[in-house]
């Protein structure tokens, strides 16, 4: 995964090109949106931080000779993290045959590639726990885990090789929103009011209220955390995958997973009733170019399967918040 602890990594050019997504008309001043977001993020005195332990686990897992015991010892030094990792492993999403009670057993069961994604999931939740989001936070994580899991399932069905990464992308895509409802409460309340009372789209309400959106805010936060460039892409372009200058495919997967989540399972706090024809989504065209398996993809069946996953996602998020 390669989270870095050093200075800022290379980041794609500041200018986010013209968007023409399903939620918003073309906006031509994206550089202004990023600058505005930067000011908002810098204005917060105590920004949320990714726990150091997550970065150290990531570094350990990146080394060619991984010592699982060392990884276990590191996680065990944080009781909350340990409890959450064990809870995730025992959730319906992983379905172990017997309950797993020890961390070491959990790590062996998950395998190296998934440890990273699980530890990052837990760390992100931890990073925002000191914020002031209250109940909204649980809804967000439910959405984020949902999108992560759906994106991962789609990646698997469509034979996209980096399923674990796609899960993390899904989990991260809305960190701008999590930040917004945790640290910019008055703006958040105004946005929600505009959506509810004036029927604005969420993105339009964000622009009207703050002059920027959660995409740019998330991008600035990801940079602050020194997240790899590909993470920044997904966060910045998850509403407009066809405009991403690079890595369009994973961005499109997350975009489609987001649409699936909202329209098939949905009723998110900010979306109300939505419907979509997936095959007309820009993300669909992006994916068709490079994922031939998409021709055999059955969106109806996929929607049925997602309904089955939903209780597991809800339970997982509830369990994680119970400490």
């Amino acid at each position: 995964m390669g989270l870095t602890t050093g200075s800022s990594p290379s980041i794609f050019p500041e200018v986010l090109s013209t968007r023409n997504d399903r939620n918003r008309g073309p906006v031509n001043n994206d550089i202004l949106l990023v600058e505005k977001a930067q000011r908002l993020v810098r204005g917060i005195a105590t920004l949320p931080t990714i726990p150091a332990i997550c970065l150290r686990v990531s570094t350990l897992l990146d080394s060619p000779t991984v010592d699982l015991q060392k990884v276990a010892d590191l996680i065990l030094s944080d009781q909350v993290l340990t409890a959450r990792v064990v809870k995730i492993v025992n959730s319906p999403l992983f379905r172990p045959l017997h309950e797993i009670t020890s961390l070491r057993h959990a790590l062996v069961y998950l395998g190296l590639r998934r440890i990273n994604e699980i530890v990052l999931s837990c760390s992100l939740i931890q990073a925002f726990e000191d914020g002031d989001a209250g109940f909204d936070l649980r809804t967000f994580w439910q959405h984020s885990f949902g999108v992560g899991i759906i994106a991962g399932k789609m990646a698997q069905l469509l034979a996209y090789p980096e399923r674990e990464k796609v899960y993390v992308y899904g989990l991260l895509h809305n960190i701008g929103k999590v930040f917004l409802c945790s640290y910019l409460k008055p703006e958040w309340a105004r946005i929600i009011r505009l959506v509810e009372e004036k029927g604005c789209t969420f993105l339009d309400a964000e622009i009207k209220t703050m002059g920027t959106t959660h995409c740019e805010i998330g991008l600035c936060l990801a940079r602050q955390w020194n997240f790899p460039e590909e993470y920044c892409h997904v966060i910045a372009y998850h509403h407009a995958p066809a405009n991403a200058p690079r890595n369009q495919l994973p961005v499109a997967l997350v975009n489609l997973a987001d649409i699936f989540y909202t329209t098939c399972l949905g009723m998110d706090e900010d979306s109300g009733w939505t419907s979509s024809n997936l095959t007309e989504e820009p993300a669909w065209f992006v994916m068709r170019k490079s994922l031939p398996a998409l021709d055999d993809f059955d969106p109806e069946r996929f929607a049925f399967e997602l309904e089955e996953e939903m209780p597991g996602i809800r339970k997982l998020v509830n369990d994680l918040f119970m400490g």
Binding site: T263, W273, S275, N277, T279, D298, P299, A303, F304
Partner: protein, 276 residues
């Protein structure tokens, strides 16, 4: 008998590939129960052997029909598919009204194909009637219910229902549109007059050609009784008989994937509808 998770998945995949019906995992107990009955009937002891039997040529097809009869005996009822009805009344109908207003056509045509004893057609009539003074002011509408079974069509025309059929009807609708006579519920004539029932075999091209210009077509849990080529033909008729801006609904657990690639699924919370 308990079929294993693995056998359940195999059976579900098979049924989905043949009939387009998806058994949600919370229906496992139900499927298990019905499969057990059929296994006892054909003297089959192992679930795996029964699945093999279903997959085997002519004998398999016959047995599959019998199994489908067992798993689809869930008779229809009023207000059956809440997500679909909500989408219809609150979102798709207003959208369609807007389109038709523009072209100056204030007439709505709805077809309940495989209408059985009429619950679905009458449910739609009630929803439309409730919008008579608002959304549908100065509009006319007619609903056509078709089925192949004369006995059940007569029942539909009569409009007398058991408490079980009306169990999902919201209280307000029940009070307004039904009269309780002994232990039966008699539907109000003001609803009945909006629905015309007739005998149509969906496989009969000559009849299908005359059912034209519908704004909504609903064909729930009917296509499963046809083999794939018949299904393709019937769905193509629906496609041709639907207005360009119309909507086509099938059953809650059904899918048209692999049957017709011209209809496009539009997903919404709790379901999907097809458009051209």
């Amino acid at each position: 008998m308990n079929i294993s998770d693995n056998e359940f998945c195999k059976l579900r995949d098979f049924i989905y590939s043949v009939c387009g019906i998806y058994f949600h995992v919370n229906k496992k107990y139900f499927l298990d129960n019905r499969v057990s009955r059929r296994m006892a009937a054909v003297n089959c002891k192992v679930a795996g052997d029964y699945i093999d039997l279903l997959r085997s040529g002519t004998q398999g097809r016959e047995e599959l029909k019998r199994l489908l009869d067992e798993v689809t005996t869930n008779e229809t009822c009023f207000f059956r598919n809440a997500a679909q009805l909500k989408a219809f009344e609150l979102h798709l109908l207003p959208e369609l009204i807007k389109v038709k207003e523009k072209i100056g056509c204030r007439k709505l045509r709805i077809w309940s194909a495989g209408s059985s004893s009429g619950e679905e057609a009458y449910t739609l009539a009630m929803l439309l009637l409730e919008n008579r003074t608002t959304l549908l002011k100065e509009w006319s509408f007619d609903i056509v219910g078709t089925d192949i079974n004369e006995r059940i069509l007569a029942q539909a025309r009569e409009g007398v229902y058991s408490p079980y059929s009306v169990r999902n009807v919201p209280e307000m609708y029940r009070r307004k549109y039904f009269t309780k006579v002994a232990d039966q519920f008699v539907l109000a004539p003001e609803i009945k007059k909006y629905v015309t029932f007739s005998n149509v075999n969906l496989y009969d091209d000559s009849k299908m050609l005359f059912l034209k210009t519908f704004d909504f077509i609903v064909c729930a849990n009917v296509l499963i009784y046809f083999d794939n080529s018949a299904k393709c033909k019937i769905v193509q008729h629906f496609y041709n008989n639907l207005q360009p801006y119309g909507y086509f609904f099938i059953g809650q657990a059904e899918s048209l994937h692999g049957v017709n690639d011209r209809f496009k699924p539009i997903h919404f919370p709790g379901g999907f509808v097809y458009t051209k």
